[in-house]
């Protein structure tokens, strides 16, 4: 956990009082909506179909139990008793009143939570691997660098009015759980030959209307130069990013139009001119930030405690353990994923009561720490293996032990037309129907790892492009239709999915997905071949045939 000091706290409080003043001026008419819109967006406040939506940052996906309880409190006091975890390690509330927002922000500020730059044309919440600091084999904890970037990007005097939004993601593991290749800047932590920390820097990834996989702009930037290099990229983007067309304003378009070599050259020239910058991170500075991350005092525990041996006789426990429990870097401990994808439920939602209960369980079993992942699930990062059986029972009681992590029903979905003013079609009911179709665990298990991602419009908040199966809502003659893509992925081998054919109406989506899955089961060359690998091997044709032959 990162502990805020007096300076961090002061800054958040200053931001809250500034926003309180902005809301006051808006309600009195001193600020027009045109002027206020940008200011509210800079604080995570959108207007949706039914009300304002309030997006709160969970930097690099780390929360304390105290913070999670406060998120529950906001849900209860200012909203309708629940919140929605997003694909970018944020939580959203859907029913908040503008007049209440300053108080909600003040309540959050007390526990070091803010909503700064969770929307608007600025640098957004810096995201990272939800298993940072606990994943076996990780090079080092990427959250130190995430926090340095968080501070660097917060209220940046030069880059708060960029051509468009700008997203960072960092990973320090071989297997990328942070989707760095579909971010404006993706950072992969590495060590050079001298054992010094640095980053492979990727730029120009992104989804939306024009999806691009990020390209490597520099294979190694030394850690001490991270901020100055990032500043050079942002400065080039701020100057040359397109502002004439909102759909062409992201850095991915600039990189695409210039070409990565030319873009890299511009950045390098700027970087050289910056010279020995005040942004250079001395070791002592990095260590200062590192020192404010605390780690649990782990016990020396056996790899296979008796409690676990006994519980292994319970097939339901075993089913959950095999699905939702993953190895920890410390012997005797595990990382436990909490599925927010119950059968028939809206993906990523948690009620205030669930949040409070999870906070209590985190205190009891996970050193008071909770993680939020981009797949819209939560995790308890430090659970002693001996506690797994008791934890499982407690999680099951509150409905977050569905053993479907990474399976076909672990669906990523945006809020869609039920909430969102940009959406063309609904996402949540599609996800709900799919979870019902595949509710049989044995079937889901047989299918294996399969990510379905659903977006209700081309803005792609549900990351449909990089779903193994992607579902995109479109509108045709006032009816909801859905385009299906297959073969996308968001990990280290990130790829954009391929459209299989004409869009299908709302009522047929679940049937089509079932057809695709059945085709895969028949086509895979062995049970271990994942859906996405079968698509890679065979292309989309056999799936297309299966889906459209009878339609």
């Amino acid at each position: 956990m990162y502990a805020y000091d007096e300076l961090d706290r002061t800054l958040i409080n200053e931001r809250v009082s500034e926003f309180r003043d902005q809301v006051k001026r808006r309600l009195s008419g001193e600020l027009t909506e045109d002027e206020f819109k940008m200011l509210r967006l800079q604080n995570g406040v959108y207007l949706q179909l039914h009300a304002y939506m309030f997006r709160v940052a969970i930097p690099y996906g780390t929360l304390s139990s105290k913070q999670l309880r406060r998120l529950a409190h906001v849900a209860r006091r200012y909203d309708r008793g629940y919140g929605h975890f997003t694909t970018r390690q944020n939580i959203q509330y859907n029913w908040i009143k503008l007049a209440d927002l300053p108080d909600a922000l003040a309540d959050l500020a007390e526990v070091g939570i803010h909503a700064m730059q969770t929307s608007g044309n600025n640098t957004r919440n810096v995201t990272s691997d939800q298993w940072a600091g606990v994943a076996p084999g990780e090079i080092e904890d990427p959250r130190i660098w995430s926090e340095l970037l968080r501070q660097y990007t917060t209220l940046h005097p030069e880059f708060s009015f960029l051509p468009r939004k700008f997203k960072f993601a960092i990973t320090a593991s071989e297997h990328d759980r942070a989707a760095i290749k579909v971010h404006d800047i993706g950072l992969r932590l590495l060590k050079n030959a001298d054992g010094e920390t640095g980053f492979e820097v990727l730029v120009g990834g992104g989804l939306g209307r024009t999806p691009f996989i990020g390209k490597t702009i520099k294979p190694f930037v030394h850690g001490r130069d991270l901020l100055s290099y990032v500043e050079a990229i942002l400065r080039v983007y701020n100057q040359y990013g397109r502002r004439d067309n909102i759909y062409k304003a992201r850095i991915k378009i600039l990189v695409h139009e210039l070409g990565i070599e030319k873009f890299a050259k511009e950045v390098d020239e700027e970087w050289k001119l910056m010279g020995d910058s005040a942004l250079t991170l001395d070791n002592s500075v990095v260590e200062e930030v590192r020192s404010r991350f605390s780690y649990p005092a782990y016990e020396k525990l056996p790899h296979m405690p008796d409690e676990l041996k006994q519980a292994a006789h319970d097939p339901l426990f075993e089913r959950w353990r095999k699905n939702s429990v993953t190895p920890h870097k410390v012997q005797g401990y595990s990382i436990v994923t909490l599925s927010l994808k119950p059968v028939g439920g809206p993906p990523g939602d948690a009620t205030a009561d669930q949040m409070d209960a999870i906070a209590d369980l985190a205190d009891k079993y996970s050193f008071g720490e909770i993680r939020v992942g981009h797949e819209q699930n939560l995790a308890l990062p430090h659970v002693a293996k001996r506690d797994l059986p008791a934890l499982w029972k407690a999680l099951d009681r509150i409905g977050v032990a569905t053993p479907n992590v990474n399976l076909v029903t672990d669906i990523i979905a945006c809020p869609g037309l039920d909430y969102c003013s940009l959406a063309n079609a609904r996402s949540i009911p599609i996800a709900q129907e799919l979870t019902r179709r595949f509710s049989n665990h044995d079937t889901a298990s047989l299918i294996g790892r399969l990510h379905i991602n659903i977006s209700g419009c081309i803005n792609a908040c549900g990351h449909h492009h990089v779903g193994h199966i992607g579902i995109l809502g479109v509108e045709k003659n006032n009816e909801e239709y859905y385009q299906i893509t297959i073969g996308g992925r968001a990990d280290e081998n990130a790829e954009v999915g391929t459209l299989i054919g004409p869009a299908v109406p709302y009522a047929e989506v679940a049937d089509v997905i079932e057809d695709i899955v059945e085709a895969y089961l028949a086509l895979r060359d062995r049970p271990e071949e994942l859906f996405v690998d079968t698509v890679k091997r065979l292309g989309v044709e056999p799936f297309k045939e299966r889906v459209y032959a009878t339609r």
Binding site: D5, T154, L155, H156, P157, N238, R243, V285
Partner: protein, 171 residues
């Protein structure tokens, strides 16, 4: 529109000369970049003060040779959403060492003051009078800053490091 300079409401001594308008014989003038560059050598020899209005999409390289001869550079915010002039301001101050008046013009609103000050602006053509009147109060909103810029404000990281040093020195 009110001009705020050095934190106070000030009278603008500069005549804004539009494109095509006749140049006055004497007196301080602020003229558009293109017009200035057409005749830069002559103009920068004028007895009275001269400033230039620099668009946010024009390369600063063209201006750099004249920086010691202009007393004002006015950078433009065609919309408050367009942040290009923040980069130009920092470059003028921090890279090219411009010491004259750096003026923000266009859609200059209260909620940008702190960003603008940090980027190096010291004069503001403020769109709304109420915003100009609130200048002093508004710029006191923040006392903590995460980024080093040329404005000399000490960053949070530096304050922490100083604190560490004084702690270890007193032990």
């Amino acid at each position: 529109m009110r001009l705020v300079k050095q934190g106070r409401i000030a009278t603008d001594i500069f005549l804004h000369v539009a494109d095509g308008a006749e140049l006055p014989e004497d007196g301080a003038i602020l003229i558009p970049a293109a017009r200035f560059l057409e005749n830069a050598e002559t103009l920068s020899q004028r007895a009275d003060k001269i400033g230039v209005i620099w668009p946010n999409n024009r390369d600063l390289d063209d201006l750099v040779p004249y920086l010691d001869r202009v007393v004002v550079v006015a950078l433009v915010f065609p919309s408050f959403r367009d942040g290009r002039a923040y980069s130009q301001a920092r470059l003028l101050r921090e890279r090219y060492g411009f010491k004259g008046e750096l003026r923000a013009t266009g859609q200059v609103l209260r909620d940008q003051f702190v960003f603008m000050l940090r980027a190096g602006f010291d004069a503001f053509e403020v769109k709304k009078d109420a915003d100009a009147d609130a200048f002093a109060e508004t710029v006191k909103r923040y006392t903590v800053f995460y980024q080093p810029t040329g404005d000399g404000r000490v960053t949070a990281l530096n304050r922490r490091m100083q604190l560490r040093h004084s702690e270890s020195a007193s032990q």
